[in-house]
């Protein structure tokens, strides 16, 4: 995940709100040619603000998924246009999520702490994001360990999955969650107190305001185009 992060990310709350707005408005345009103008405008804005690298890394994956789901949609509806629109929505998801994917999670956490969001939300979010790669790694480790005990791994063998994969996997996850909970408490974390500091304050800059203006202008422009 760190490889997708940008060096100079936008203000986290602006990234979060922009990400949601792009998705919602994009969905409105998804049945119109205007969606392509929106994607073009977003590509230009992302290029200006240094988000092309993460976009280019996630886009191939989303395009692949969009082709598969779009094709499925075309088969069930027997309408080519419906298939294209479905694919467009998946690609739109890449454009809306890239702002969040490229943001170091700690920046968002610190931003929310500064804004006095509940600690359970900020830490929960950080721990959840951190656990995604951990879970992937644990899955790989357990599959390797199963193999080393002579168990042939197959997702279709329910007994094998339950016994040789799920049991160690769940035990490990429960164990890790317990240790993590104890560790954060021994490191002074408590839900009941607001007495905490922020090591690196996240501040809004002119660049963030410029990004917001450009994004709103583009969305308005595309909306006018859509109305006309």
């Amino acid at each position: 995940m760190e490889k997708l992060q940008v060096r100079n990310p936008l203000y986290p709350l602006i990234s979060l709100i922009a990400s949601m707005i792009v998705f919602v408005i994009g969905i409105l345009f998804s049945q119109d040619i205007a969606i392509f103008y929106l994607l073009l405008a977003l590509t230009l804005i992302y290029a200006l603000f240094g988000y092309v690298r993460p976009l280019s890394k996630i886009l191939p994956v989303f395009i692949l998924i969009s082709i598969i789901i779009g094709f499925g949609s075309f088969i069930t509806s027997r309408d080519f246009l419906v298939g294209v629109q479905t694919s467009g929505r998946i690609i739109l998801l890449a454009y809306s999520s890239v702002l969040m994917i490229a943001l170091p999670p700690i920046n968002l956490t610190r931003n929310l702490v500064q804004l006095n969001f509940p600690k359970v939300l900020t830490l929960g979010m950080l721990a959840t994001i951190r656990f995604v790669p951990v879970l992937i790694n644990e899955t790989i480790q357990i599959k390797e360990a199963m193999s080393s005990r002579g168990v042939k791994f197959s997702w279709f063998n329910i007994k094998c999955i339950y016994r040789a994969f799920l049991v160690p996997f769940l035990m490990r996850i429960i164990n890790m969650s317990d240790i993590l909970a104890i560790s954060i408490e021994t490191r002074g974390f408590t839900l009941s107190s607001n007495q905490s500091s922020v090591y690196k304050q996240v501040k809004i800059t002119k660049r963030d305001i410029f990004f917001s203006i450009m994004l709103i202008s583009s969305l308005l422009g595309v909306t006018i185009l859509w109305i006309n």
């Binding site: 104890i182 021994t186 490191r187 090591y199």
Partner: protein, 475 residues
């Protein structure tokens, strides 16, 4: 009279699920400026005692607790763990599970932020802690080895600057150099007035840094009057006789093996010839590529370039994991991954040559009484023994062991090594092990590979072990 850092009066504790007391009438005092090593056989209550001090017992772990505990003069019986954490820092086992950030700097800052340390002071503390633990604060945590993660968790606690520190087996994943980095730093802190308790099995490493050595035995705590006496029981440990590098048939021939993940090269142009019947020990610092090499030999991972030729079985069998792993046994560093059957007995019978052999092996490892238990309900030390027992009951021709004695007390360590060596004598199996433990390496090796930065630095007989460990001490 000076205020004590920790004072324990008549402390007794038993777990909710147990009828017997694990700690009974313990009295203990720790002064500021003292570094005390807490030692004892596994399961005697070292971690339990630390958990009572840092408040995990009774706040998180249930049980019956009697007696009084004072930390920096304050009665902690009614304080939460997070409140006690302002008074003392605790470094727990299993660092991998405790990390929530992606960068070293942010992970260390986490605790400091929680205790409301000003940002300027946090920066200073991070710089000091990373310097002390020899870490680069800008590094991403995913690139760290197990030992570096252990050092990171120590740095995360040191940065919080509590004057009382508890360490629960902090050397478990550390190579000798890293262990001495941590221990020297702790000694310096003790000299500056910090009070430190370290629960640790590897006495030969820690004893010279300690002011006192406490022994937890039969539910009671006592101190060695002369700390050197704590080491006497290791006097009989001498490196095994040096066997000649005789000409035997090859078991594995490794040719120009390299392995990389993304742009990170872990092994580079490794070539070696492992003979059948060798007892090979791979040594090297954390992150040198030891586990990666072991996994390559066991065919768990495949090389990026180069080749490994095996002479154990046919190529067809070697490509079928269930057949290959009946010839080759692999014991993971973390036993939890390899245990999945409903009982200890079924676990060992899963791949055993026969039920009789399975039962005998369980008895050899002193696990026979636990045959009905769920493997995941055992202690970490028992789980590790069980995974080794499961592999030996298969009677493999090759055994790969990744840190087989981590967290084992002295008698368990000797028990495991003796069983492994007897198996080797009987079957002439090839045993390839990784260890950071001098005692274990000395007793398990007739040949040694010294890895450094993914390359073979030295290859030789067991004399190399002493050379390696001495070089690490001098660093």
């Amino acid at each position: 009279m000076d205020k004590l850092a920790i004072e324990i009066k008549k402390l007794s504790f038993r777990y909710k699920i147990s009828n017997s007391w694990i700690l009974k009438n313990i009295d203990f005092q720790l002064k500021y400026g003292e570094l005390v090593i807490l030692t004892g056989v596994s399961g005697q209550g070292k971690s339990t005692l630390l958990s009572c001090i840092n408040g995990m017992i009774p706040n998180i772990i249930d049980g019956e607790l009697n007696g009084e505990i004072y930390v920096d003069g304050k009665d902690v019986s009614n304080l939460r763990v997070s409140e006690i954490s302002h008074l003392l820092g605790s470094v727990l086992q299993d660092p991998e599970s405790q990390i929530i950030n992606s960068k070293i700097e942010d992970e260390i800052a986490f605790g400091c932020e929680n205790i409301n340390m000003p940002p300027k002071k946090i920066k200073e503390s991070i710089d000091n802690a990373t310097k002390m633990m020899d870490l680069d604060k800008d590094m991403f945590i995913r690139t760290l080895s197990g030992g570096q993660k252990q050092r990171l968790m120590s740095a995360a606690i040191l940065a919080m600057e509590q004057k009382i520190l508890l360490f629960d087996e902090p050397l478990a994943n550390l190579d000798i150099k890293s262990a001495h980095i941590l221990l020297s730093a702790l000694r310096q802190l003790a000299d500056k007035g910090y009070a430190i308790i370290i629960a640790e099995h590897r006495l030969e490493l820690v004893y010279k840094y300690a002011d006192k050595i406490a022994l937890l035995e039969n539910h009671n705590l006592s101190f060695y009057k002369d700390k050197d006496k704590a080491l006497h029981k290791y006097d009989d440990i001498m490196p095994s006789s040096i066997e000649s590098l005789s000409e035997k048939k090859s078991c594995f021939i490794v040719n120009n093996l390299s392995f990389s993940i993304n742009d990170n090269t872990i092994l580079e142009n490794v070539s070696l010839d492992i003979k059948k019947g060798d007892r090979l020990v791979i040594i090297g610092e954390n992150g040198a590529g030891k586990t990666t090499l072991l996994k390559q030999l066991a065919r768990i991972n495949t090389p990026t370039t180069g080749s490994i030729t095996q002479f154990i079985t046919s190529d067809k069998i070697s490509k079928d994991p269930s057949l290959w792993f009946s010839k080759v046994g692999y014991v993971y560093q973390n036993p939890n991954y390899q245990l999945f059957m409903p009982t200890v007995y079924e676990e060992i019978c899963f791949m055993a040559k026969s039920k009789a052999l399975a039962e005998k092996t369980l008895a050899d490892f002193s696990l026979a009484d636990l045959w009905e238990r769920h493997p995941q309900s055992l202690s970490e030390g028992q789980k590790r023994k069980l995974t080794i027992a499961c592999i030996l009951a298969m009677q493999p021709e090759v055994i790969f062991l990744d840190e087989p004695t981590v967290g084992q007390d002295y008698s368990s360590l000797l028990e495991i090594i003796e069983i492994l060596n007897k198996y080797h004598e009987r079957s002439e199996a090839t045993i390839v092990s990784i260890t950071h433990d001098f005692r274990c390496a000395s007793l398990l090796a007739n040949k040694v590979i010294w890895l450094e930065n993914g390359k073979i630095k030295r290859y030789g007989d067991s004399r190399l072990i002493a050379e390696y460990f001495i070089s690490q001490r001098e660093l």
